[in-house]
Subunit: 282 residues, 4 copies
């Protein structure tokens, strides 16, 4: 029996904190995984080392009230540590969390105590791995941030071979659905994962808006990564995934119209994929 | 040959208006349909009456620059009228538009001239039908508005039969993904479809937040519909679809915990569906 | 309060019949709806007429063992009648069923008593409406039947306007994801809904394969519908939805290659939509 | 700049071979990736090393007629080698292919020359990586094989902690959507990738049907893996992903019914995930 692991995906937790004058709302989707000395489970059908995935699920709910009090990274770590403690055969527990965010409604400009609308855009993500005896690795992230520039983006001077028909583009739409994940430097103190995440998002948005000389998705990816490293000393490295969501200029010449970068068709497939990690110099 | 129709679905149009100091961005998905005297196309294989669906698609792009200058309802009507004019066999043209919305980025608080982030929440919708010789019906809408109240919602006093195991709920989460469509009164002038839509959305959000005595999804649906009719005299009737996105209280008693409306599991399937039209008295 | 209705969608039922020497497996997704005199539920918050959607869900499970013994149409009718009987305010109950099908595994050519693989292709569908006092309407269907011809399909002689750039196609790929629904004549006896459905599917497949002179999707749609009406006297009318899943010939001339109808790109959006009902002469 | 890569996802290729008396149909979705010395693309905006993703896409179409003559693994290798040859900066090219399969229609029992229905079940997969100067790694696979046993599966004797509420199950439904990937031993000759794949699938199906004493998903996973290694000497190791698609026994006791493993609700989320590699002894 080679490498193996097991767990539960898609655990949906909604937590309401009922304060005297208002409610707080948290909404998580959690994936859980255990790895370790489980070979006999496979080869012998011996279930004695196996903490059931149903228990892994229940653990999320059982720990929520007491421990989901702040950052999802912290909650993820508590869950991972508990799973590891409850499962002697496990050498590693991993917890991945996606936080769906909600905005408090504000009728008449007054924040409402208990009514919310879903933020359906970017999601907060976290991935915590705890290895025995007690080494935790925390990765934070943002996913689903869809960005578009209508100008200030080119793609020229690229390599050509006999199958290259793409024309040089001096001015094109640049659109992406950005997913970022980052890890932390051991040293610098910081104001908590949420503070970093908000700041990373702001840095990404500002850098995306500001990069008016984008020569490629790659070029912008690097500018975004550098902006984050510059803004946040606690970030050790950041990995960015930036699919190139193609917008093709429609040929309107058959209809006697010029199309000076105005009318586009947004396509689903295929799409470019650009991925890279920007890290501090060693 | 009985009733029939044909058209094109999923036409993706992105339009950029390049003003001197800023760009405007529009992003539509358009479905197109023609109905009329097309029986011979089916029975004889006679294509002479058929405007190709590819031409229907091209029409959207060809008309965009000149006619997508304001409300999608107006653009939809222009497209529908053009399709009808180009197709003598057609008696009816229908155009359905979903507008995906984008928010201008504002680095440092300054609106950026050409960088945007996608609003991935509620979408604007419009459905325009034009019948020969020239009768237009316009329906406007909002889809994908996900709302949740953590309290102020009950479900009690319902009918019970031998298969009813649901307990009465004095205080439950009420969550829905609201879709609204409405039609217009012939009389009252108004400030344009966009103004109505923004106002309808505000009325829906305020009424949802304000309905602290919800006795059912149906009850809240009616309050929402009435709020719109009260706020906007130009709206003749409004149809609301409000799935009941169930949040089940997790039983924590096996873990020695009380769960006083704090820990919930959000479920995908099955889900309740509540639909109704609220209209003005005849 | 105008038109309204409520119910439960996405009720998943798996039924295992444990016979002595083999098991039978059924797998349904059920949607349920009630309509009638429910205005006070909306306007007054009076829940007394409302059979909860949770009870509607439970009814499916409670009736399964005794009543899901054969065709889904018959089971749907039993469920609809029960919902109507249990809900005095209701005037109509509607039940939509999709049956996901499984194939018994046959290791060594021997049908296995209790191991199955999912048929992930065409799904059986049924829609039963029962109106008070006792009028049932039954619609049967097949969905998700993906078909493709590599030749024997053209599209020429169509109407052209100034936005028509589509070339005439003497020989093209014809691909569709067919969905068919049909209703029954009052008179002719028949061997049960399943027998009709199998025969309808065979008639559709044979007619699709045999239509070597397809002049359009519409043309083939009609041939398919006629084939069903000819083969099955119990079918009163059949509605076919046949999206045109476009396969575009790739231009290989820049690479010095001729593309004589060999290399295609299958596209997702936009896609053509062709819908029509073929019925018997009055 | 740290690790990085780029490419194109979702390239859809349909190939028709027009033989004299029949047509062959192939239907692939291809993902392409390049890695290597591209740091300056990111840091300097220097595009000269970059083969455009559009060229990567075009390469698939340009090579199809000549090279997609047999196994997708062989076609993938040709594409990967070409991409590497065309891109001096690249150190690695990776090509992932999913083959969607079609079944020839057989009206009247006669195989039709050019009409097909889509097999919407299991898909063939292949992943080929070529590293400079010329080292290829080939992984073959099957995805989307949905299997279910109605009995002969238990889950007992597992570890319990204070959050464990799952009862022991002596007889439960075992359902999964199996995905398998395997790699090849350098030595043994074999009859081609397709022959192995068909044989692997048969071994998986037979072993799944035959494992009447399943003590867990893990246990069955191992039996499946061993069956493949036993049947096919050319397979070096096989990785199986087997989500546990939960089927919950419905409590019918409130309705006065016993439910002796007959009525189940199939759930979507959460679901168990079991993954493992079965390999030959070193």
């Amino acid at each position: 029996m080679g490498a193996n692991g097991y767990g539960k995906d898609g655990v949906r937790l909604v937590l309401v904190r009922r304060h005297a004058d208002h409610h707080e709302l948290r909404d998580l989707t959690v994936n859980l995984r255990l790895e370790g000395e489980f070979a006999a489970v496979y080869t012998e059908g011996d279930n004695s080392p196996v903490l059931p995935t149903d228990t892994m699920r229940a653990t999320v709910y059982a720990l929520a009230t007491e421990h989901l009090t702040g950052d999802v990274e912290d909650f993820g770590r508590v869950v991972a540590e508990r799973l590891l403690a409850a499962t002697p055969a496990a050498e590693r527990a991993a917890v991945s969390i996606t936080e769906n965010r909600w905005t408090r409604l504000s009728p008449g400009g007054h924040p409402h105590p208990h009514a919310f609308a879903a933020d359906q855009g970017a999601r907060w993500t976290a991935h915590v791995t705890v290895d025995r005896p007690d080494t935790a690795t925390v990765t934070s992230g943002i996913a689903g941030l869809v960005l578009l520039r209508t100008t200030g983006s080119s793609f020229t001077g690229f390599r050509r071979d006999e199958y290259t028909v793409l024309p040089e583009a001096e001015d094109r739409i640049l659109a992406t659905e950005l997913a970022a994940t980052w890890q932390y430097r051991p040293g610098p103190t910081f104001g908590g994962f949420a503070a970093t995440r908000e700041a990373v998002r702001d840095a990404l948005l500002d850098a995306f808006a500001g990069h008016d000389d984008s020569r490629s998705v790659q070029h912008t990816l690097y500018v975004l990564g550098q902006a984050v490293l510059t803004a946040r000393p606690e970030v050790e490295r950041i990995t960015l995934r930036m699919p190139n969501l193609h917008h093709l200029t429609v040929d309107l010449s058959p209809f006697g119209q010029d199309n000076a970068g105005e009318v586009f068709v947004a396509t689903d497939r295929p799409y470019g994929v650009i991925e890279g990690t920007v890290e501090r110099p060693a």
